[in-house]
Amino acid sequence: MSVNQESSQQAIRRRRWRDIDLRAVAPFVALALLLLVGALVNPNFISINNLANVATRSAFIAIIAVGATFVISSGDLDLSVGAMVAFIASLMILFMNSGVIADPVLMLLAAILFTIVAGALCGLTNGLITTVGKIEPFIATLGTMGIYRGLTTWLSQGGAITLKEPQLQEMYRPAYFGTILGVPVPIVVILAVTAVAAFILYRTRYGRHVVAVGSNRDVARYSGISVNRVRTVAFVIQGLCVAAAVLLYVPRLGSTSATTGILWELQAITAVVVGGTALKGGAGRVWGTICGAFILELVGNIMLLSNFISEYLIGAIQGAIIIIAMLVQRSLVRKS
């Protein structure tokens, strides 16, 4: 009996090895290739210092993209995340500048809580407009993108909003520049956020519902799943991820302006798609998304270190990457 079980388990393992989904592996292969190219271009590239730097700088996009993975897996799209970063960051700094709480420690904790709630509410707004208002997510979030961006411009009166209290700034700085056991805090945050997201997406009932809703809404509805609730919660998760990114962003510069986070929505969506999540919903890959965000940042870094392509072309290269990623995905689907 036990022998039988063992051999059948071995068979399952062998089959799993053979059935590896090429689409899930592709982004990691691309990452490995990029690292190789980078090492050939400039020996400094492969140093731990440089790579840690790249990873740190990818943190904002990576964390936002983790949220976008949920929204996209459930078959929706959120274009407002870049504007939302600017809006929530402005609110956070204004809150800290208001001085309603005298004690700096309490003030910082309150500001963090405030930011998280603001993120969740912004996401909830997007979700309710799309589901209750029954408006295409593309249009709904195009609208809120304008609203969040416009409100930021209004709050800053076209200029910058800067954290005034030096004591607060000093205390908050390590949240971006500090290290935990030698690892920069942003990297730790990326890993933590991703691990939690992966757990939710792959190991919980809600995660399974997200994929089902994105795959086929009718099947989900006939299976007794509250489709609108699942979609709305995905938008809220996106809002929470934006809040997490803001919590890292504010201590970095201590300042925001109307141009904060411009085109971040495009980078986040690119990271998700490069990571192997299907843009039409139904398959989410959180670790792939992180990999996609690293790839985007690495490409910029290689261009910077290489000297034979102008770094002003970064936008064009990133645009090309999303198209190439789609073509690769398509060809892999055909084969499997």
């Binding site: 089959r15 059935d19 190991r203 919980t204 009932r205 809600y206 399974r208 519902h209 994929v211 089902a212 795959s215 086929n216 009718d218 099947v219 989900a220 509805r221 006939y222 299976s223 007794g224 799943i225 509250s226 139904g282 398959a283």
Partner: protein, 508 residues
């Protein structure tokens, strides 16, 4: 009766020793097939026998691994992706290939629009469309939007499309699956008319009676092998079924079990109305199989969706064991023990890109979760159990639902619904598009569930199925229940009388 085709009529299209493998798995083994000019040729076989593959090869959508195809006696390599239409070979798919937002005329001329001086010649195209539709005796408006047509009318447009392209060979895959009896009769008249003018038809269907009625010759495939080709007139339904299955079909339907009269009434539906359904009342006892018959579009599905909360009710109440179930609340209905199994397994029942396990447990994830955390071991155990219980046959566990045969998909869907452990199960079209062998299995599953003390409502357009399974039959017509038949009243003629509005009785 069918007319004999003169023996020796010229052969239009034939296949010689066709074999086909998909990634190492052989699905056709040296199959021969021959289609004469002006005949209707039935292609029969269980699901997975290789009918669809053969049709795809004969219409150019797939290339054979070995063997040759002859068109008018000459060996040809058919062009791929529907380009064989230019050779007069047309396939009418089970799911229509029509864009909802085009008009009938635009659909007919899609991809070969007629132009004059570079501008679309719309008047000519409209006139030509009218001509073809007249030829078919159809009253469909050539300017109507495809989206506004009924399913039967869409089918008519597909056929018109085939004719307007001077089709010599037409493949029809399960054309009557979505048609009512009258619409089917009309289609058959049309097919015969075209046959007499020299068009050849290949008719793929699971409905034995229709094959007997319409076709001139029958070819039976089993497990990818050619079994027999013979004139339909020398066979009978029983013989064809035996050729397909390769064993005797002892009896298609299990013995009926009737619940006692004093058995508890578990479901009581009182005067339910929705947009279309008016004032529908019925009740189901424990262990009973209640049938719902009627023409397509008579409101059966709408009523059932209102009962299980997938659709809100305008009026009326639903009581499960005396407890009222709120309107439009699927969760409450599920909790009360009601479950609905959709007739549209591909669009509404299964996630075609997902594996068996994700599909099986989708509706009942709560059973495998502790505080929202899913236990893969428990899900795996459920799959093993369901596969054994419902005899789901697949090569390995990781296959996605979209790649399974129709019969296995249907069993998986039934298993998925049963995972919620319902006491009242509404099964809409339990055997649509599946083969005789699997049908028989599903009938036995249904019967076993009833003997188990569960109550079952079978909604079906196939009358033999309703008559063979159910102890009482409700007949719907134009949104209301025309009558509920019991015992000796349950016969095709009697059901038809109610369905067509010739007879009526109010529920006692």
């Amino acid at each position: 009766m069918t007319t004999e085709v003169v023996d020796g009529a010229p052969v239009v299209l034939s296949a010689r020793r066709i074999s086909k493998s998909f990634s190492g798995v052989q699905v056709l083994f040296s199959v021969d097939f021959e289609l004469r000019r002006g005949e209707i040729h039935a292609l029969m076989g269980e699901n997975g026998a290789g009918k669809s593959t053969l049709v795809k090869i004969l219409s150019g959508f797939e290339q054979p691994t070995s063997g040759e195809i002859l068109l008018d006696g000459k060996s040809v390599k058919l062009p791929p992706d529907g380009a064989a239409e230019a050779l007069g070979i047309v396939i009418i798919h089970q799911e229509f290939n029509l864009a909802e937002h085009l008009t009938v005329t635009e659909s007919l001329f899609l991809g070969r629009e007629v132009t004059r001086f570079g501008v679309l010649d719309r008047r000519f195209m409209r006139a030509e469309t009218r001509r073809v539709l007249e030829l078919l005796g159809s009253h469909v408006d050539e300017n109507a939007m495809i989206g506004s047509l009924s399913i039967a009318e869409k089918q008519m447009v597909e056929i018109a499309k085939a004719i307007s392209r001077d089709a010599r060979v037409v493949f029809m895959d399960e054309p009557t699956a979505v048609l009512s009896r009258e619409e089917t009769n009309f289609l058959f008249r049309l097919v015969r008319k075209l046959r007499d003018k020299g068009t050849s038809f290949v008719f793929v269907s699971h409905k034995l009676d229709e094959v007997m009625e319409l076709t001139d010759r029958v070819t039976v495939l089993r497990d990818g092998q050619w079994i027999k080709t013979a004139p339909t007139s020398i066979l009978d339904g029983e013989a064809i079924a035996q050729l397909m299955v390769g064993r005797e079909l002892s009896s298609l339907y299990p013995a009926k079990t009737e619940p006692d009269v004093d058995e508890e009434v578990v479901l009581r539906v009182n005067s339910v109305s929705t947009g279309y359904v008016r004032d529908a009342s019925f009740e189901v006892r424990r262990g009973e199989i209640l049938g719902f018959s009627g023409l397509i579009g008579s409101g059966r599905t709408e009523l059932m969706e209102a009962v299980v909360g997938l659709r809100s009710r305008a009026a009326g109440e639903v009581l499960v064991r005396g407890q009222a179930v709120p309107s439009g609340d699927v969760h409450a209905a599920n909790k009360a023990g009601l479950a609905y199994m959709t007739k549209d397994r591909k669009a509404k029942g299964l996630l075609l890109n997902a594996g068996m396990m994700a599909n099986l447990t989708l509706q009942s994830l709560g059973r495998h979760a502790r505080l929202g955390y899913l236990d893969p071991g428990s899900e795996q155990a459920a799959l093993v159990k369901a596969r054994r219980r419902f005899d789901i046959r697949v090569r390995d566990d990781s296959v996605v639902a979209g790649r399974m045969s129709g019969g296995n998909q249907q069993k998986l869907l039934l298993a998925k619904v049963m995972e919620t452990d319902p006491s009242i199960i509404i099964i809409d079209e339990p055997t649509r598009g599946i083969d005789v062998g699997t049908k028989q299995q599903i009938y036995h599953f249904i019967s076993a569930l009833a003997r188990d003390g569960r109550s079952i409502i079978v909604v079906s357009s196939e009358m033999p199925e309703i008559i063979g399974l159910c102890s009482r039959v409700a007949v719907m017509r134009e949104g209301h229940i025309a009558g509920i038949l019991e015992g000796d009243e349950i016969s095709e003629q009697e059901i038809m009388r109610y369905a067509a509005g010739l007879k009526k009785k109010t529920a006692a």
